[in-house]
Every structure is written in structure tokens, then in C-alpha cells.
Amino acid sequence: MKIQSLDPRVNRLALDAANPYENEVLQKEEHFQTYQVFHQKKRGDKHVCVGIVHAPSDEMALVFAKEQYARRGETTNLWVVNTKNVLAMDYDDADVFSTTSEKLYRDPAGFKVNDKIEAYKKSRIDV
């Protein structure tokens, strides 16, 4: 017996109504590799990682990225990068990023000269 649906597209498929839960197994990796997608909204903006797509090749990844991440709003450019090519740090190693007050020499606030300038100007007037 065929499935009778309210959807004419489903009726055209002429699907068998019997045993819908038979075990149909997708093979491992059948749904391809993953790509990280980078989206640039406007010229001049940064590309931002917005998510992933599964795709069989770099070119198809761009096609799917457009479908998935450029349906709405403004897009001016997309990049895709195969996830295997991204070298990422571990969150467990996040302590390497913690800065201490000793790093003031890397900070604009670490270089204060106004006192010197004012003192110098004052000494000139006194002369």
C-alpha cells in the first residue's frame, strides 16, 4: 500500500506505507567533511566565523555557505576553511593569555609624561 498524503509532492514519491522504521543505515562520513564559514557583511568589515557547513569539496562548501549564511541581510564576501586546517588552542591552556601588571610596558597607559612636561615648563618660567 502507498502512503496517501495531503501533500501532492509526497504522493508523487509513491512511498510504501509498510514498515516505516526499517533500519536504513547511512554510512560513516556519508555527509562529508566540515568547513568553518567566515562571513563579511560590508567591504571594510572583518570576516567573522559564523558556523560550519558539511560539503564534499571546497567549492561546494562555498555554495552551501551562501545558502546557509547569506539568506538574510547583507553579505559582501564569504570564506570557507576546511576544519582540519584550523589549528586551535585548548581552552585548558587559557592561562597563557593572562596578563599581569608587569605588562604595563605594552599598554599606552604605561607611558605617562605630562608630569615631566609640566614640571619642565614651570622650571623655564621660573628662570
Binding site: E24, Q33, Q68
Partner: protein, 329 residues
């Protein structure tokens, strides 16, 4: 769309869980209590990983199956504008499934395994999509009220603790706002139209009210399980609280159009501020979840045909020397 009614699976309790390292567990809970997100390669309790995979996977399946009842009317939408909008919405739902499958993959379950579990009946999806969309007015009710209910659920979950799920949900909620508006528009056009159109939308509302009340799932306030999931910010509100929030927001929008809600006991208790409602027949809910709803077999058969009919294309495109990498985020 989707995805409420967190359904607890009793099977999960039967499987032995190894004890989590208490020091790691304490650090994990402290991180969540500080409002920090958990990211894919962080340490996490086994139960956290398991419940999240389950929940995100159910959500993804609901998006992809949810496209079917609405898609029923694409070929016969009344006019090009309605047809374009419905096609765009259905495409969004499938896109949402892709985003959610990706989020679930970061926890270690492959997409193939998730789809296999869906088409062999092992994984669940939202009960509402096992009902037929009998008329165009059913599309209005789904687009307006089911999407509204889904948004209540998704906005809550987007504040959860798992980074990839939150990021997927933020994007989804942004896109859903158009779905809700287009659903409301179709609903209002019918409700303010001819007597025949009004009758159509009233009848669709009568058909869908029970499934809508089921949507958030049975009462779960008392469960110890819920307490843990809420502490871990896997679940952000109880099923009851989300149902109450939905009723408060949307009952007035139905009544202002002069339509009737098919539950005579439905009213807001002026003292408690809570909605009271008649028993929405939870037996029916559990039957539908078990696979005995009016459209369960059709939905699964269609989904399976899609995988089967696409297999040769995937095989032709696949490169045997390229291998899958778990997404980063």
C-alpha cells in the same frame, strides 16, 4: 520552529554512568554559576553531554520534520507572495536543522548517526509535526502559534550554558521573527476575511489547540532531573513556566480576533496570575511520541526517501581520501 517539550527518556537511567571527577565537576558547576559558557572541548559531566546531545538532536529533527507539514501547502499557497514567503520559511527550518546538527556534532555524535536514529525511530522530535496540515488555515496556525511557542522555548534556551547551542539559537531566533510575523499575517487575513475563511481558521485552531498545549511537554516541576538540568543551564525554564508564558502572550492575540479557544476551562486565575486549563489528554501525547500519531509513518518515510534518493549524489561527490573533522564551535 520547534522544539519544546523536553521528553525525558527512562532508558537513560538504566545505563550505568561512571562517576564524574568531583573536583572537575565542582569547577564545571562554578563556571556555569559565574555565567560562563561551556565550549566543545571543555571537560563536562557525562550526563551533561548526553542530555545536550539528546536535546539538540531532538531540536534538529523537529526542524527538519517540521518542514513537512508546512511544505504540504507550498504547491497550493494562495498567491505568489504567500508562496515565496512559505518557501523561504521552510528553507529556513531546514537551515536551522543544519545549524543544530552541527552544534550536536561538537559533542561527539556524528550527523550520520543522528539521521540514522531519526529514520529508524530511535530519536524523537516534537509531537506537533505528527499531525496533518489539512487546509491552508493549518499553515496559518502552525506559522503563528507553533512558531510562537517555539520562540518562547528557543529564546529561553539561547541563554543556556553550552556555547555552540546558544550561538545556533541566536541565529535561529533572529530568523524566526519573520516566521512569526508571516504566520500572524496569514492568520489575521483569514480571521478578518469572509465567513468561510473565518470558519477555516477556527476549525484549524480547534484541531491544533491540543497539540499546542502538548508542545511544551508534560508538567516537570517536581522532577529531580529537571533540577539538575536547570542548575547546569541545559534547561532554562520548566515546561509549565514556558506554557504559561506562551498563554499570557498569545491567548489575547487569538481572542482579539473574535475566535474561540476550544477549551472551556481555559482562564487566568486572578489570584495566582496563572492560567488554568482542561486536561489536554496526555495519553494522546505519549501515544504520538511513541510513534502512533496520525502522520508519524509518513514523516519518517518521507525523510528516509530523501536520504535514499540523495545517496547516489553523495556517493558521486565524496572523495574517499577526505575525512570528517568535528566542527570547532
Amino acid at each position: 520552529m520547534y522544539g519544546g517539550g523536553y521528553i525525558h527518556n527512562d532508558d537513560a537511567r538504566k545505563e550505568p554512568m561512571q562517576q564524574d571527577d568531583p573536583v572537575m565537576l565542582a569547577e564545571f558547576e562554578a563556571r556555569i554559576a559565574r555565567g560562563e559558557k561551556i565550549e566543545p572541548r571543555d571537560w563536562m559531566p557525562q550526563a551533561y553531554r548526553k542530555q545536550l546531545v539528546r536535546m539538540i538532536e531532538q531540536h534538529a529533527h523537529s526542524e527538519i520534520i517540521g518542514a513537512l507539514p508546512e511544505g504540504t501547502w507550498i504547491t497550493r499557497a494562495p498567491g505568489f507572495r504567500r508562496k515565496l514567503a512559505l518557501m523561504a520559511k521552510v528553507q529556513d527550518e531546514v537551515g536551522h536543522a543544519q545549524l543544530l546538527y552541527s552544534a550536536a556534532e561538537t559533542l561527539g555524535k556524528s550527523r550520520e548517526d543522528m539521521i540514522n536514529d531519526l529514520i529508524n525511530g530511535k530519536s524523537k522530535y516534537s509531537n506537533v509535526f505528527n499531525y496533518p496540515a489539512k487546509t491552508w488555515a493549518d499553515v496559518a496556525v502552525i506559522g503563528f502559534l507553533i512558531d510562537a511557542a517555539a520562540i518562547v522555548n528557543q529564546v529561553a534556551n539561547s541563554k543556556g550554558s553550552y556555547g555552540p547551542y546558544c550561538r545556533a539559537l541566536e541565529r535561529i531566533c533572529y530568523e524566526e521573527s519573520f516566521h512569526l510575523k508571516q504566520g500572524h499575517s496569514v492568520f489575521v487575513y483569514l480571521a478578518t476575511g469572509t465567513p468561510v475563511q473565518r470558519q477555516m481558521v477556527q476549525e484549524a485552531l480547534n484541531r491544533w489547540w491540543k497539540p499546542i498545549m502538548h508542545f511544551f511537554g508534560p508538567s516537570d516541576t517536581m522532577s529531580q532531573h529537571t533540577e539538575q538540568l536547570m542548575r547546569w543551564k541545559v534547561k532554562m525554564a520548566t515546561n509549565d513556566d514556558m506554557r504559561q508564558q506562551f498563554l499570557t502572550m498569545y491567548v489575547p492575540k487569538i481572542l482579539e480576533l473574535g475566535l474561540t479557544i476550544p477549551d472551556q476551562e481555559l482562564k487566568k486565575n486572578p489570584e495566582t496570575g496563572k492560567w488554568q486549563f482542561g486536561d489536554p489528554d496526555w495519553n494522546e501525547f505519549f501515544e504520538v511520541i511513541k510513534g502512533n500519531g496520525p502522520c508519524n509513518s509518513e514523516r519518517i518515510a518521507v525523510r528516509k526517501a530523501a536520504e535514499r534518493n540523495g545517496a547516489w549524489v553523495r556517493a558521486a561527490l565524496r572523495k574517499a581520501d577526505e575525512h570528517y573533522t568535528i566542527p570547532l564551535a
